[in-house]
């Protein structure tokens, strides 16, 4: 459809770049919006999960008879109700999973592998009966030695989680002995030894991070209903109801056609609501009871058995010449995966040095299983952890050669044409522009006081495209309905409506975007990988172009002139020139009214595998004040500059930058999973797992850099993830600048910072 108008220049946008109120907004400020736990069906039961209290144990027996005898209990499920699955890779966004592991994570089979691992589930006529029944299920365990720490787990004498797992080495060979190391990865470019030999200064350190949780405020929740004729329905808040359908149908042994999944509003995901936890349990409980079943996790369940991203142990070595050229960089990235392989160490190896043009690089990654909950994606999975190590070392190296850390990054920054270490050659990208924006920002000119410091860091994230289907219908009054299949987590219905309106030449409020269930559209991949505004937006624009093409054809037929002689301008079909004829323009409303007498309703459908996602780079600066008496770090100001390609709705772009930054600040200063000596999670609540609150943070200042993505009609890049990547290193760099201590471990909580300060300042002899 090249004859339809080409991408418009920036100044010509009529809707894009404005800040309209979101279409789902009123429902969300009045309490009307329905999230996962807000749905109910007549005759509905309540499900409860029985979870392992042990980090590692053999499952000897499960006796459900007492629970089943309790009045009000309608069904119980254990692993016996789910067929075992073969070892077979499954798509789950940016992280690999395996059906063998999915079925074992759903309900433990041979062993329990972490504190909180589901063992059985029960459905009853009330929540309180379900809870009582859960306590009546008797499980016998044989407790085994466990391993929590990634370095310990890699040792030869570590307790094995899976005696059948051997290490797949980087060269493709397998280890001789079983191991907790599932996979070794390697990326090698140039001559690493020659590169370090050419360096005037080398920084080498080992860093450690803890698992952190995505911390969405809405716990996982769903309602499932299975009917006597073998049809299933699920209402659930997730980042991708099509993937929920795939996994659930597979685990419950159903045809995909017999399961429909309707998306609820989602109360935050950040990567943690891609995978199935409750849905197959609820559906199987419904099948066995012939009643709808609702399941809602407690906050403790959310912490113990969903989410967290990997903790890691990482060694980084970077060398540079005196004049600031990075000559070589290497890293070993040891990532915890939870009890099954699938940590985001792959993306970590690729993103680690992708901010820079470096000739000699050696990256090794290790995917290591431990007795912790199965890790899930978390905003730029893997990249943020590696960036804490790499960007800490980069800043330290800049100081070592006496160069301004922003100038040092600018000198080595990846730009258009740079082939980064994992093999990609960059198109137009905005790292240099982001660094320049940070350098010239007013915040960067503010003088610092005692115990205050400023730190910088940069970040890279790929972004993805993928399977996307949309349907656009011109209604009989000329307004437009748009059905999309990517859950709206942070305002995407607003951006879709704006893009549709822009393309059609109408007003944003004349388009109503809605989320369709799985039976109404072709397969849509998840809302993750910063893909929604890019992929669904691109499909929406293409669907609008189909609508426009049909409108031109209808106008041409009405006027009895060739289609080529009709243009679409400002929401109207018009003769291309006076040569084409003298006709009154036909609006979408006119054409909709004519439709019954022409070819019928006007619509656009796009079913596509969207390509061309372009990376988004970010640069950040943060000012902190460290209390030398307590070790408390206060964030004074924070500046984010990130390349959005083109901001569709700038407020929601800023919101992504700010939210990602706040999550990074929590990760930097407070958040961590704390286990006792028996491998039990000790802080499975929001009081002891402390995410940032309003009084912890300042305003977060943003700069939207716009280097257009040539593969999107309006230049859009995904923007949801990059801004969490640099935060932890930026804060560590600011602490070093403030009080002269280099933090090698997250979180940089008051006791750790105080200890580092005390150790750096030996008490003077009296």
């Amino acid at each position: 459809m090249t004859d339809v108008k080409e991408p418009v220049a920036k100044s010509e946008f009529k809707q894009i770049g404005k800040r309209p109120k979101r279409p789902d907004g009123v429902d969300k400020v009045t309490g009307r919006a329905r999230y996962g736990a807000d749905f109910a069906l007549p005759g509905m039961l309540h499900g409860e999960v029985v979870r392992s209290p042990h980090a590692h144990a053999k499952l000897i027996s499960i006796d459900t008879s007492k629970a089943e005898a309790l009045p009000g209990v309608k069904s119980v499920v254990t692993h016996h109700d789910f067929a075992d699955q073969p070892s077979e890779a499954a798509t789950a966004g940016e992280m690999a999973v395996n059906y063998r592991d999915i079925v074992r994570n759903l309900l433990a089979r041979e062993k329990v592998l972490y504190d909180g691992h589901p063992v059985a589930a029960v459905a009853a006529t009330s929540v309180s009966i379900a809870r009582k029944a859960a306590k009546l299920i008797e499980v016998k365990y044989e407790v085994l030695p466990h391993v929590i720490n990634v370095v310990e787990s890699m040792k030869d004498d570590a307790p094995l989680l899976n005696e059948e797992q051997f290490t797949k080495r980087a060269d493709g060979s397998m280890s001789d002995k079983p191991s907790n190391v599932a996979t070794e990865l390697e990326i090698k470019v140039g001559d690493i030894e020659a590169g370090f030999a050419a360096a005037d200064h080398i920084v080498e350190r080992t860093y450690d991070t803890k698992p952190v949780h995505q911390g969405y405020i809405e716990p996982h929740a769903c309602v499932a209903s299975y009917t006597e004729d073998g049809q299933g329905e699920i209402w659930v808040s997730s980042q991708g109801h099509f993937l929920i359908r795939s996994f659930t149908a597979r685990l419950c042994g159903m045809d995909v056609s017999k399961l429909n999944v309707t998306p609820a509003e989602i109360g935050g995901g950040f990567g943690g609501k891609i995978f199935v936890y409750l849905e197959p349990l609820a559906l199987m409980l419904s099948k066995k009871s012939n009643r709808p079943v609702k399941m809602v996790m407690s906050r403790a369940d959310v912490f113990r058995a969903t989410g967290p991203t990997s903790g890691a142990n990482m060694t980084v070595k970077i060398g540079a010449t005196k004049d600031g050229k990075i000559t070589a960089a290497s890293t070993d990235l040891r990532y915890q995966a939870g009890p099954f392989p699938g940590s985001p160490v792959g993306p970590a190896t690729m993103t680690s040095f992708a901010c820079y043009s470096i000739e000699n690089v050696l990256v090794k990654g290790y995917d290591v299983i431990v007795n912790r909950p199965k890790v899930a994606a978390y905003r730029a999975p893997g990249a943020q952890v590696a960036a804490f190590a790499v960007e800490s070392a980069v800043e330290e190296l800049a100081h070592a050669i006496g160069m301004d850390p922003v100038e040092f990054r600018l000198k080595n920054a990846a730009k258009e044409g740079t082939k980064v270490h994992f093999g990609a050659t960059m198109g137009p990208v905005g790292l240099v522009e982001s660094l320049e924006a940070i350098k010239s920002h007013d915040n960067n000119q503010v003088p610092l006081g005692p115990n205050q410091g400023r730190g910088y860091a940069a970040g890279f994230w790929f972004n993805i495209g993928g399977e996307t289907c949309v349907t656009m219908n011109v209604n009989e009054d000329g307004t437009v309905g748009l059905s999309v299949g990517t859950p709206d987590i942070g305002g995407s219905r607003a951006s879709m409506s704006m893009m549709a309106a822009e393309e059609l030449g109408i007003e944003t409020d004349e388009v109503r975007a809605q989320l369709a269930d799985t039976k109404s559209l072709g397969f849509n991949f998840i809302s993750a990988g910063s893909r929604t505004t890019f992929s669904t937006g691109k499909a929406t624009i293409e669907a609008a172009r189909e609508v426009i093409q049909t409108c031109r054809e209808r106008a041409a037929a009405h006027w009895d002139i060739p289609v080529d002689a009709v243009v679409w301008e400002e929401g109207q079909a018009r003769p291309a020139s006076s040569n084409a004829g003298d006709f009154e323009p036909l609006s979408l409303k006119d054409l909709a009214a004519m439709a019954p007498k022409q070819g019928g309703p006007i619509s656009g459908h796009i079913e596509s595998n969207v390509q061309g996602a372009a990376p988004s780079y970010a640069a950040q600066s943060v000012d902190v004040e460290v209390d030398p008496e307590t070790g408390l770090v206060k964030i004074l100001r924070f500046t984010v500059a990130q390349d959005a390609g083109k901001a569709i709705h700038p407020s929601y772009v800023e919101g992504q930058f700010q939210g990602a930054t706040a999550q990074g600040i929590g990760w930097a200063l407070n958040e961590e999973y704390i286990y006792d000596e028996n491998g039990r999670l000790e802080n499975a609540n929001f009081l002891d797992y402390r995410i940032p609150v309003a009084s912890d943070l300042p305003m977060i200042d943003t700069v939207i850099v716009e280097v257009p993505n040539p593969a999107h009609p309006y230049g859009v890049r995904g923007i949801g993830e990059t801004s969490i990547i640099p935060v932890m290193a930026a804060v560590a760099n600011a602490i070093e600048n403030a009080v002269g201590v280099r933090m090698e471990e997250l979180p940089m909580s008051p006791p750790k910072v105080l200890k580092a300060i005390d150790e750096s300042q030996p008490i003077a002899a009296e």
Binding site: V29, T30, E218, I489, Q658, G659, F686, L697, M699
Partner: protein, 158 residues
């Protein structure tokens, strides 16, 4: 155990309900009376998503028993708008894009209104400490703070 009969007032309406003694006010609002605007994020009073007004004080409804609502006046998010007219706080939240996923929004709106009812001209610091019991994971609070401050300014000038 026999259920407890409770008479209360919710958003200006007289309401009667039966509840188990162990049911929280949040359970009753959501599961018995279908006021699902108040959300359960933690069940332990740490996240503030279930914030409602009880006799003019803002409380975590997950920490109040349903039976304790006897004779009280309860106000929830469902009662904040005046018919078709949104409260200025609701308007400003939309105008400033102060919500992303929106799950914390009802609790934050109720808590913010409670502050402005007693202090129409709070400083940013006062507001940040007032809202420290309401967790938001999406926004970094920036736009929430701006929206409440802007709503306060508008309410003062009207």
């Amino acid at each position: 155990m026999a259920k407890t009969h409770v008479s209360t007032e919710i958003n200006g309406d007289q309401v009667e309900f039966l509840c188990d003694t162990e049911q929280t006010l949040l359970d009753v609002l959501r599961d018995e009376l279908q006021f699902t605007g108040s959300k359960e994020g933690c069940g332990s009073g740490d996240c503030g998503a279930c914030t409602v007004m009880m006799d003019g004080r803002h409380v975590c409804s997950c920490l109040v028993l349903g039976a304790e609502a006897e004779g009280k006046k309860i106000e929830t998010i469902e009662g904040m708008a005046d018919g078709e007219d949104l409260h200025p706080l609701q308007e400003k939240f939309l105008e400033h894009a102060a919500l992303q996923c929106g799950i914390c929004t009802p609790g934050i709106l109720v808590a913010s209104k409670a502050l402005l009812d007693r202090n129409p001209d709070p400083t940013e610091t006062e507001l940040r400490y007032w809202l420290a019991g309401n967790l938001c994971r999406c926004t970094g609070y920036d736009k929430i703070i701006r929206a409440v401050m802007d709503a306060a300014a508008e309410m003062r000038s009207s």
